[in-house]
Symmetry: C2
Subunit: 273 residues, 2 copies
Amino acid sequence: MNRKELIAQIQAKKTFLCVGLDTDFIKLPYHLQKQPDAVFEFNKAIIDATLNHCVSYKINTAFYESMGLKGWEAMERTLDYIPKSHFTIADAKRGDIGNTSSHYAKTFFEIFPFDAITVAPYMGEDSIRPFLEYENKWTIVLGLTSNKGASDFQRLSIGNSQERLYTQVIDTVSAWGTPDNLMFVVGATQARDLRSIRDIIPDNFLLVPGIGTQGGCLEEVCKYGANEDGGILVNVSRAILYAKSDENFKAAAAEVATKYSNEMASFFKEEMA
Amino acid sequence: MNRKELIAQIQAKKTFLCVGLDTDFIKLPYHLQKQPDAVFEFNKAIIDATLNHCVSYKINTAFYESMGLKGWEAMERTLDYIPKSHFTIADAKRGDIGNTSSHYAKTFFEIFPFDAITVAPYMGEDSIRPFLEYENKWTIVLGLTSNKGASDFQRLSIGNSQERLYTQVIDTVSAWGTPDNLMFVVGATQARDLRSIRDIIPDNFLLVPGIGTQGGCLEEVCKYGANEDGGILVNVSRAILYAKSDENFKAAAAEVATKYSNEMASFFKEEMA
């Protein structure tokens, strides 16, 4: 999916919502756990329930890898089930020397035809280039993440300047791609930093995790992160997936997704009218 | 495999050699490509050929993932074929928020029972902790990598000090584990930096890629990287795997592995006698 199509989806639906399919077998409703392809059946129900309230689905590969071969099959079936109207993200956080990153790019752009993959920046330009070479595919580089450990290295001061590692990463990496193929992960728990990040990259999309269970504030994220195009994808995983743990999980997921989406729609009304 | 056992293997064989199974289908000898499980058959031959000349095998997960489900099957069979006497590394460079990293740890320590996994440090402590919680398993954190892009961020100066990002990463992360469960990746192409890294972490094992095709100097790596226990695992991938691309690939791989191993043995004679 290209930038124009993504923006059109966001504007038409008036939502930035991305539903994170961090599907954990042991958290599935008990009646589903007994089914042979429980993870896919759960994802299918969640997708059906949330489809009209979101523009994107993010599959967290760790949850599928930890199930072995069966997990990769469930991921394949899930990706195949997501309608082409929705932007698909492999949240895989890969990154290696160029020769190896090419294989990861092939995995998540060809073998599993996602629109986008998340990538770690530590190994520098040649670890990211192979992903950027694909047309109409997106590379989403970690900038400032939503976890506690983000402070360990991402916030270190660089040289004698006011610059932090994460601002340096965003600034440097943004020159390797364009707003048409490059996004950044910026955690919602750091919403006050979104404003300064927007000064560095006014046009790139931001993938924002940390809303919901992790406690980020949606209003702040919209206020400081969104731009004229929309410019953000706000991910919610656990708060939607596990809204209820019984037979009513599907209706509960729809309800939570609707709630988030309505909040976002009201932002469109106020700020982007 | 625990530290004592790893050291005993190194001392008995007088080698630090780790053979990197970065097995790329399109580089396999033509006669093998026609076999139904070509990648495993190739790996099996390479393992048979190099077994007596190395102490470790490193499986680069990207090369297997890019083959889809068949690749994961080949990885599983390969790991199963490696004798228990050899230290096994999943070169997966994973890392995510704690909740997600737990799933990666499960994948590479339980589903696929490797001894060790490589992990990226950008997301900080909670992204690394879940790996360290496994007994007799090893976490190998990226310090200074062997690729050109290592200069983009890893060598940035931190604050007003002489400290670089990679020395800060090594220093900080080393306190989260012990030399019994924590190693660092330090590229051989940066052998002159090994000495200063040894000042920070005299006891941790270093996994050293970059020898062979990438041009690192083995003599310098042994001189500056090794310690009394051995203390290094020197990875060679392409120079061994693709020493010859015809029916004689197995003998050629054995020859190259022997050459590296003999060089290492002479270091044992001179420096560690």
